[in-house]
Amino acid sequence: METQEIQQIECSHCNGLISINNKYCSICGKEQKKDQTLIDSRKWPGLKQIGLFFAIELTCCVAALSIDNFDISTAIIFDIIMAGTAVLFFSYNWRENAHLLKWPNFSLKKTIICIIISITASIIVQFLVEHLNHSLFNTDYSYYTIYKPHKYGKYIMIISVALFPALFEELAYRGYLMQKLLTIVDKKEAIYITSILFFFMHLSMTSFFWMLPFSIVLAQIRISENTLWYGIIIHFTFNLTVCMMEISTFDTLI
């Protein structure tokens, strides 16, 4: 006698026994996999929510760009608005996002490797960007000029350039955006869309050569490790190295 390996389930309509792979019931003809239909029907509203998120982020970034006298207090205001947006969207979808804040399979070795690689990458990128800005546009740009006038400028810079973006950009892009996209498109597309939008939002075309790969790597790590923490650490170390290099060029570290 032939053994039947295929798992059987009850039809959701007539309760007859059918193969788990059936799209339609072979007894009553009704469509199965209603949960799939439900997932499909949530895709467009999900994309609209992403559209809203994108519009808010874009408004903030463009507003920051268009302010002529961008000083330390404007930087802090924009940091808080962006952080608020990230937290709002992440917590609005709390049920699907909460697991990303856990750190399953914590590995000290991996963490140290991440830190070393991001410091090295940051130094290389900083060196290349400096040369690119100098040779292409004949300008030198430094974040520190905004923060320098303040008594605690260097500490505020570390919070505003290293800590806040690491925490809240990861929460927004690799957290909320990627998790939402995973319900709409496949993993690869989610990685690409998240990375491209992350790059666009920085409104800097010249950073194309490093920010897109950087973002793809962060997205890939977030998918494979299923946690935001490696991304946060890499992002923080990368930005902190930039801060340290700028502060050491224009000021003393301590």
């Binding site: 339609y24 009553c28 467009w44 075309m205």
Partner: protein
């Protein structure tokens, strides 16, 4: 009627000889002629929808190439009216990247339509928002064309999702 015992006449899916309905598309295998005709007519209606949706996706893909084409025109206008060498260089640099990006999104939309169209739409919106901040008059220049392109892209993205859904329903790849 040997043909009917193994594969569905509607979607060619394999089925057992005692199945009343096809487990791939829901075709009434043992139904009356009237029931089968009704099924075919419903399926035809869905196939027409599918073809309309595919046309929307195609239009959205084409609009990515249209944006690249329009960027070429605006490059020539900008480049030859630029006042100095530095402006000319900035226009050349920006245009090369933007034209390249939209062409790349157009090509990419063949394999990854959702990602390419979302990226294309986002970049298009960002460019025009930045232009509007730099020079508010640009909001109104070619506004109809801008709206048409944005609508085509949004319809395209929505259609990709609908196409996936309908293909599952019709059991076609």
């Amino acid at each position: 009627m040997e043909y009917h015992t193994n594969s569905c006449p509607c979607c060619n899916n394999k089925h057992e000889s005692d199945d009343l309905f096809c487990n791939g598309c829901g075709f009434p295998l043992k139904g009356t002629q009237q029931e089968q005709d009704f099924f075919y007519s419903e399926r035809n209606a869905k196939e027409i929808d599918l073809s309309d949706l595919n046309n929307n996706v195609e239009s959205a893909r084409k609009s990515l190439y249209w944006i690249a084409g329009l960027s070429v025109i605006s490059f020539f206008v900008g480049y030859f009216t630029a006042k100095n060498e530095q402006d000319k260089f900035a226009i050349l640099f920006t245009s090369v990247i933007l034209i390249g990006a939209f062409l790349a999104f157009g090509v990419w939309s063949k394999t990854k339509p959702t990602a390419a169209m979302i990226s294309g739409l986002s970049l298009y919106v960002i460019i025009h928002v930045i232009n509007a901040i730099v020079d508010p008059v640009t909001i109104f220049s070619g506004i109809i064309l801008k709206v048409i392109i944005i609508v085509y892209l949004i319809k395209g993205i929505r259609s990709v999702l609908e196409v996936d859904k309908l293909k599952k329903e019709l059991n076609i790849n």
